[in-house]
């Protein structure tokens, strides 16, 4: 028995998991409908796939949500996991699930997949026969991902960097790398049985003034860490920056460089997709305005040429959206994609060049780290501030980089910290901004820049 298989058996012999039948699961994946694989839809697609967000504790409620989404013509169903499960606290999840079922009130903010188990969940997934995307936020997602794939969920979001730096204050990053390594390998192995399992990175990060260079570097690194383990279908992603042009440039550069770096490690055979998140930052409280913002995000996603879009709702600024609001966004987004035609071909060579230079310089610095494996190089680079995510709450993050918007609302780096932004690019970025102001005015500008959509 391989080392991995040994590890799998240990992980799956969990008191909250009922007997995991490896052979049956393998047979299931082998024979599963192609329609369940988002990787299959990406291959066939002639339109951008639309995916909302959402998860409820009970089977019934989750089923009802899915029915609602299907009626609204969804392309990809979400399955958002509750926060106890994210912290591997299956005991609490179990208790809260029982309370939710008994009292018809939601005691969890998502679907406790491990407690429901794969045998039950698979019924729902195969019933709808639509690809499902797993949204969690779990540093140690090993058990969760095994259960997900056994259930027929063939897209797994997250990654050791993107699920840690925005979501956690002090979960050990090195551990996260190892746990995700396991996830990648499991995904890679199952990918050999049928269409590939798709892995997706979480590009929005903190959704707050993250400069495209940082987003792209992290997307590329999580992609490489995944392809290294044998994953054959991967989605890089980012969220609306606030400048249409910066979005388009970011999309162009990330597509080009994903291909380039995949080739560098001899993984040109992997399919790389682009996912765009509707505005992830501070939303307007006016719900009509929120809808304008959402529609505009869809238009920009089309101009970026995304393969999939992940939607928000008009209720973002107030609370967890109702299924009605959620389905409404899906229907509206589909309509918009249908009527938006004659997209112009937009190339901004100068911006693309600057961004490419920034990304390549940081990537080079990461690769030059003396550590023996890629994940250790990445780990060291985060520790040393070569990678620095603005507004990350994690203690390992440097927080020395400062960004601001220029007059056109492009995010620009005005303090690079330890990030090896080449001098020319740094000068370019700073030249776009008015830095003659005093610090208080600049802080006011930053506050304003964060709230541009409000």
């Amino acid at each position: 028995m391989s080392l991995l298989q040994e590890e799998r058996e240990i992980i799956l012999s969990n008191e909250y998991v009922d007997n995991f039948d490896f052979d049956e699961v393998a047979k299931f994946v082998k024979g599963a409908s192609k329609d369940l694989f988002i990787s299959h839809h990406f291959k066939q697609k002639n339109k951008m796939l639309v995916q909302p967000r959402g998860g409820f504790p009970t089977y019934q409620k989750q089923f009802a949500l899915n029915e609602f989404f299907v009626k609204a013509n969804v392309d990809v169903l979400p399955l958002t996991i509750d926060s106890n499960t994210r912290l591997n606290d299956y005991a609490t999840a179990k208790k809260m699930l029982r309370l939710s079922e008994e009292n018809d009130v939601d005691m969890l903010n998502g679907y406790p997949l491990v407690n429901h188990g794969y045998r039950t969940t698979r019924k729902m997934i195969t019933h709808f026969n639509k690809p499902v995307s797993l949204r969690h936020g779990t540093p140690d997602a090993r058990l969760l991902i095994e259960t997900a794939i056994a259930s027929g969920i063939f897209e797994i979001e997250g990654g050791p960097i993107t699920y840690l730096l925005p979501y956690s204050k002090n979960f050990p990053l090195d551990k996260a790398f190892l746990y995700w390594k396991y996830v990648e390998r499991v995904c890679a192995n199952y990918s050999q049985l049928n269409e590939p399992i798709n892995r997706e990175s979480f590009g929005p990060l903190t959704a707050t003034l993250v400069p495209p260079a940082i987003t792209i570097v992290i997307q590329l690194l999580e992609m490489l860490l995944s392809l290294e383990e044998g994953v054959k279908s991967f989605s890089v992603s980012f969220s609306q920056t606030g400048s249409m042009n910066q979005d388009i440039v970011t999309g162009a550069v990330i597509k080009k460089l994903a291909k380039y770096y995949a080739e560098q490690i001899n993984c040109a055979d992997a399919a790389i997709h682009l996912v765009y998140h509707q505005w992830m930052g501070a939303f307007p409280t006016n719900k009509d305005y929120a809808e304008q913002l959402i529609n505009m995000s869809t238009v920009i996603a089309s101009m970026v040429g995304a393969d999939k879009i992940i939607t928000k709702t008009r209720e973002e600024a107030s609370g967890i959206p109702t299924k009605e609001a959620n389905a409404k966004t899906v229907a509206n987004t589909q309509y918009t994609l249908g009527i938006l035609n004659g997209l112009p071909n937009i190339v901004d060579e100068e911006e693309e060049e600057i961004l490419t230079l920034q990304v390549k310089a940081i990537m080079e610095a990461v690769f030059n780290d003396p550590a023996d494996t890629l994940w250790r190089k990445v780990f060291n680079s985060i520790k040393s501030g070569v990678i620095d995510v603005p507004f990350s709450p994690h203690i390992i993050n440097h927080n020395k980089m400062i960004t601001i918007r220029d007059a056109k609302k492009n995010i620009r780096i005005i303090k690079r910290g330890n990030v090896p932004i080449p001098d020319r690019c740094y000068a370019y970025d700073k030249a776009q901004c008015d830095l003659t102001k005093d610090t208080t005015s600049i802080v006011n500008d930053i506050i304003h820049d964060i709230g541009i959509m409000q």
């Binding site: 204050k169 107030s318 709450p393 927080n399 506050i447 964060i450």
Partner: protein, 156 residues
């Protein structure tokens, strides 16, 4: 009695986001803003529990404790402030300030401010812009200095 009030420019501030809240954006802006205004800042960041706040105040000898909360957790924690503060000595002159989104859902400042003042906060900023909040702090400090001089005068 002579109460020492540090010059504004040298005041020490302990700040952070209370509870399990990881929304760090406002917290970062707060640090930048305090820095810019000349305070000496000890930022405990997100995910900070009440004890950690008071411990830090004692360790640093801070003049101001500035708590932030975004996801509605604040009220739960604030009920324990008085009790906890009482356990520490020499915190009578500590300026206690809280800001952010101080309720789950929506609420009006008229209801919220008195409530939090009862919890022991001197300055309460519900959905108030950072710099407006810090202006309030400065006004509060100056007023105190004046009051203190009055006390000094009358004690002469």
């Amino acid at each position: 009695m002579y109460i020492q009030v540090r010059a504004l420019k040298n005041m020490k501030v302990v700040t952070g986001v209370v509870g399990n809240d990881i929304h760090v954006v406002a917290n970062r802006l707060l640090e930048l803003s305090l820095d810019a205004r000349g305070y000496e800042v000890f930022n405990l960041g997100v995910n900070t529990y009440l004890e950690e706040f008071f411990d830090a105040v004692v360790e640093t000898g801070a003049d101001v404790l500035m708590i932030s909360s975004l996801n509605g957790e604040a009220e739960g924690w604030s009920r324990e402030v008085q009790l906890l503060k009482a356990k520490y000595k020499h915190l009578d002159n500590l300026i206690m300030m809280i800001g952010g989104n101080l309720v789950v859902g929506t609420g009006s400042a008229e209801d919220i401010i008195p409530k939090y003042k009862n919890y022991g906060f001197d300055i309460v900023c519900h959905q108030v812009d950072l710099n407006t909040g810090l202006d309030q702090l400065e006004a509060f400090i100056e007023e105190r200095v004046v009051n203190d001089s009055d006390i000094k005068e009358s004690n002469k």
